[in-house]
Every structure is written in C-alpha cells, then in structure tokens.
Symmetry: C2
Subunit: 398 residues, 2 copies
C-alpha cells in the first residue's frame, strides 16, 4: 500500500479522550489537484465552511489536518479562527502555504477545540510523517467506529502504475447528502495520478453520488461530512481529463474505492448486525425510485424487522406507500434474499416467508422491491436497528 | 360517560390471538352524520378503501365494526369482499342497511381475515350491545398498546347538554398523515350533537390536523389510519353548521378530545418513557416550521438522546439543518425544559446543560427551537427511542 509522495502521521492529542489517536496529518510533497464534496446540511461545521471558502479560491492543496472527538460545529467565529490557526501552524511545520492546508473534524457538536492540546499534537504529528503513518491516520479519525476503513486500487495504463488509496470513518449520524464542494462521515482519497481539476471534481461527485450518498445508518445527515480527494501527479501518467481509456479506468477505480469505503461504513454502523441492499426497480422516475429506497432504508419498523430476521414485507410496502413515490400497490413484487414473498401486491405464503427468513440470518442480504410501474431503478445500503444502537446513542456524551 | 343513543360490545373472536377482546361493534339507534379522515399512505388497507368508497355515496351511518390482530391490508379483492361480507352480516344483525356500516381493522399486514371466526364473533357482539360496552370496544382495538385511550367532553348550550366521547388505539407505526376522507391509529368519536355534514367534516379535519397529524412514534405512516366521527343528533340541539357560539363550542370540545387521544397515543408509544413537545418558532414559512419539527421529532439520534436524558442540542440543530427548512444557523436559540442551552447558534455552557438534563428526567418536557428567521410556528409531539422499542418490533410477528 503506497501512493507515491504521500505520507501521514497520527498522535494522541487528548482532544476529548486520552489514550487514543485523535489527530492526524496527511501530506503530499508535491501540490495536489483536489476535489471535494461537503455536507448539504444547512448547519455546517467550521472546518467545512473554512474548506469551502478555500476551495473557491484554489484547487491545489498539499495537506489535510484532521481530528476526532470534537466536530468544531456550532462554534461561531471562534471555530473559524481556530481553523485558521491550525492551518497557519501546519503550514509553518510543513513548509507550505496556509491556504494549501485543509482542516476536517468529527465528534461532539458545540464544543470549542482545545487549541493548546491541538497545536502541540499537530507539532508532534508533523515531525514523524511516513508512508506507513497513513494507516495511523485512518485510526485517528474513528469515533464510534469499531474498525478502520481503508480501500486501495491500482490502475495500469501504458506502462504506468497509478495507485488510489482511501480511508473513511463513520458509524452514526450517517445519511450523507453531499454536493459539489459537501457527509459525519469523513473520507480522504489519495492518488498519484495526474488529473485535470474539472474532470477530477466531476468524477468525485459522480463517485460520491453512487456510494456515500446511497448509504444510511440512521437517516441523520451530519454537519461535518467531507470527502477530499488529492491527486499529486507523481505517477507521471498522461493527464486524465475525461477522455480516453485512462480517464475511464481512473473513474472506475475511484468509484470502487468509494463504494468499498461506503459499504464498510454501513457494515460498521452503530450497533448494526446486518448490511442490507435495498433495490427499487420499475419506478416511474429516478426521484420516485430514490425516495422509495430512502424511506424504506430509514424506516425504524423495517430496520427492526431486519434485526429480528422477520421478512415483514408489510412494513416494507407501507414505507414505500408513504414515500411519496407513485405506483400501483397491486403491481408490487418483493423479494428478500432472492426469495419472492410478494407478487402483484399479495403475499406468496408462509413457506416463502420461512425461506426468506432463512436468508435474513446472513450478515448481508438484498431486498428487491419491483414497483412494476416504470423503468427507473435505485439501490441503497442500510443496516438494522438494534438495542445496541440505542445504548450507544443514549450514552454518547455521558 | 354516556352519549345518548350509542351502544357497543366487544368479544374474543380469536382473530389472531386467543383470550383477548379483538372484535368490537359501535352502534347508534339513529342515523349519524359521519365525518372521516383516512391515511394518505398510497398503500391503503381494504377497510380504508371500502369506507372511502361508501363515504363518497353517503355520510349517514349507524354502525362501526372493528377488529385488531389483522389489518386486512395487501389482501386484494378478497380483502374487499370480506369487508362487504362483514357489513352484510352486521346489517342483518343490527337491522340496518349494509351501506350504513363502516369497517376498520388494525394488526398484521398481508393476512386474510379468518372470516368464520370473524362472523361468529360479530354475531355474539351484536347480541350484547350496551352503553357500557363502548369501554370494551376501546379495549378490543388495542394491539401493542399498553392501555386504553379514551376522552370525554361535555358542551352546555341553551339548556342542552351535548356529549362527545372518543376512543383511540395506536402505539407503533405512528406518524399519522390523514386527509379528507385519511392514520395505524384508529379513533372513533361519538356525539349526540346535531351537526351539518360539511361543518362536521371540516371540523374533524381541522381537529385531526391539530392533533393526530402532529404526533409521531416512529415516523412510519400506516396503511390503516382512520378517524371516524359519528354525530347522531339525539341531544336535539340547534344544528351546528359553522356559525354561532354552539359551533365554536363543539369544535373546541372535539379538538380537545382529539388532542387528548393523540397525546395518549404518544405517551403509550412503543417502548416510550418520555413524551416531548417540539415547538418550532420563528420559521420563514408554515411549511418550514412543520418540516423542521417533523425532522427533529423523527431523528433517531434526537430520540435516543431524549431516552438518555442528554440535552444533546447538537443533534437537534443538525436535524433542523437537514430538514430542508431555510434559516440562519447563527440565529438559532434552543431551550430544553424551559432552560436555554443555545443562543445565536452557540452553546450557553455546561451549567445550562446540566439544568436542562435535570428537566429531561421528567416524563413530559418541551424542546423549543427558535429559528429567529420569520413568524411561523409549529409544534409536534414525539417520544424517545428505547431498547424496548427495538425488542417490541424485532419480535412482533414471531
């Protein structure tokens, strides 16, 4: 796992808890063409506002500073000033310009960053950057996550090898809705590819629409969701500008990395024991298909039925019915784990439901809802709702 | 508790379980001006479709037949035929016309009614109608409810006494969205008032908009939600037609009955330990205020924080931010249990949060979110999300 030119490091800065990595730095020795998506939540954390402002001026960056334990959200002017102070300090330590540094945060909303601890930790991190250190960063960004989430792809083109490495965090407050320069999931993508800026931004947005924007744990879109994709050009490939085979290869590889990371987030959803793909088929419009998938994926009754391994399709069709999508209820077919349980809006029978229940014992399974009303499809990943989700979130701050 | 002319009875018909009341009949010896609201879910149960069709032809009814344990939803033509058979049988037993009988159901989706047991039970119920029997009906309609929900009001006008009695059920799949002739909550209102049909329908719709349409347990709108309001005229008051003092008195009393029943549903929400009023103030539009309230009230993170007695206003403001409502994040003020914890988008401090947490130990408290962006308000009732909610719904059908 190495992407030429990228190094990282993480330290225990004591941002909120002691004895765990909570501050990381990602650094590229050459300037990176940078694409980003940020949360569409109207309430945006200070680092999101700071990064959006920076990216309006430039798309060339060299470093990311990230912390967990504190979201630096709802912190007003102080929060924004803290972002600037972090960038200034990092720039001095790394020998770059403060406007070449991006800041990202995740954690509790409404608390000011402990800047003394933060800057001291930053100094220690910048002093020990290494290629292997990137894996430590992937650990430092975790909050209620139970495991590190990383993905890697290699692209071979005309004798050149291009590497893409991605890391992500996120377990709760997960229903990313990110738009051009928009998730608290955080994901950082590093590649040594040479890319044209507009191609890179569009490719990231398309990739995010097909991955992070199609997952949910609890339906709660965060104030801090951020995906940053840095391409430093050290692979010296022909520039990827949206035309030709290489651009397609790169887009495919990036898409796979994003999808892998998104899936890892749902698999590690707070308290989750199941990861379920909900596939809507035959909708009258793309929007109808999406609305239908989102409503089913966020229904507490559907999600508790997944936990109970109960093929309770009544809850699924009721969620579809309240989604706002238009369809004929008596045309609907539903299959769970590949076993059809509803046809033409009517139950197939107890035997089928027993077989579907067997499929639901698996950690991964699929629910297909065919509205049989049109030609539009949409699929989405969700998890089950468990006692443990309640435990985690009733005790989060205490 | 008596409304002139109304009787009821309930029996153990064995619809799904044995040893519990599960079939009820409500009967008025004189014809009733009838108003109704039914679920706006696209997927409507057979009794909802049957009642909607009947009410297009007439607004004069004499009886309601209701069962729990089986929703008669997603049952196709058979489900509709079963409704007709129930009405025919009831009409024969009660000595009225089949089109003067309304059927309502609540319970599991996707199972056919056990018609032999149903009709045998119906026969027993019709044989023992009494004023006191109405309380038994309020028991027979319960599913995961833990208690009976009834409310009563008296109106005095010009020497006449008018009585309004209401019963309701509902604990899960509660996010009623009911429109003119639309909730699985069920509510049946009986009054001996003389009313003009259009006034009565409009008054019911207004009352439902201010009560059942403003509560949520899990955000899942049911296929069976139904409110029926029967006015048999036996109080011989001056006709209430929307003008004058009596109409206002009657509308107020009906509103109070509906609000009491709606609140009882949230207090008895599946697994709930808290009943919370979320009041949005200062929104730019009514729709913004409503959207904001609904998103906060259905957020799993907000609801688990209520359970944890954690004044986690970060989750509240994040939910407001993703709601689609437009506002300035740095103008927002939030108070929990009357204790202000956020002003101008910024935290007041730990002391305030400690005081708010004390308020959250109560069974009932209020969250006020002032967006300070306009003149529109909206309030809504929700409950907390607990381990017990998960237990109830993971095991529902097994």
């Amino acid at each position: 796992m190495e992407v030429q030119g990228f190094t990282g490091a993480a330290v225990e800065a004591g941002i909120r808890y002691t004895g765990r990595l909570d501050l990381g730095v990602i650094y590229s020795k050459t300037s990176c063409v940078t694409a980003a998506t940020f949360t569409r939540n109207l309430v945006k954390a200070a680092p999101v506002l700071d990064s959006m402002a920076l990216m309006e001026k430039s798309r060339e960056f060299k470093a990311i500073v990230v912390n967990s334990g504190n979201a630096n959200a709802c912190t007003g002017k102080q929060g924004l000033q803290d972002c600037v102070a972090i960038r200034e300090k990092a720039a001095g330590l790394l020998g770059c310009h403060e406007d070449e540094v991006l800041v990202a945060s995740t954690g509790v909303i409404g608390a000011f960053l402990p800047m003394d601890k933060y800057l001291a930790g930053l100094e220690k991190a910048c002093a020990k950057l290494s290629p292997e250190g990137l894996l430590q960063v992937s650990e430092a960004i975790l909050t209620t996550d139970t495991r590190v989430k990383v993905a890697m792809r290699e692209v071979e083109n005309k004798g050149k090898t291009i590497n893409i490495f991605g890391m992500a965090k996120g377990a709760g407050m997960i229903a990313p809705d990110m738009g051009p320069p928009h998730a608290t999931m955080l994901a950082f993508i590093m590649t040594d590819a040479v890319v044209e800026p507009d191609f890179w931004q569009q490719t990231l947005q398309d990739g995010v629409d097909g991955s992070f924007n199609r997952i949910t744990v609890d339906g709660d879109t965060s104030t801090n969701d951020t995906v940053l994709a840095l391409a430093n050009g050290m692979a010296r490939n022909q520039v990827a500008d949206g035309y030709g085979e290489l651009s397609q290869q790169l887009a495919d590889a990036l898409g796979e990395v994003l999808q892998s990371l998104a899936q890892q987030i749902v698999m590690d959803g707070e308290g989750a024991t199941k990861c379920v793909t909900v596939r809507i088929k035959g909708a009258q419009s793309f929007e109808d298909a999406k609305r239908c998938a989102q409503t089913i994926c966020n229904s507490p009754l559907v999600k508790t039925a997944f936990f109970g391994e109960d093929p309770n399709w009544g809850r699924i069709i009721a969620a579809a019915g309240r989604s706002g999508a238009n369809f004929a209820p008596d045309a609907v077919a539903i299959a769970i784990g590949g076993v059809k349980v509803v046809e033409k809006g009517l139950p197939i029978g107890e035997e089928a439901e027993k077989m579907a229940s067997e499929q639901m014992k698996k950690h991964r399974f699929e629910v297909e809802v065919d509205l049989n009303s049109g030609d539009f499809d949409y699929s989405m990943l969700t998890c089950d709702l468990t006692r443990e989700y309640v435990d985690i979130n009733a005790d989060y701050r205490t």
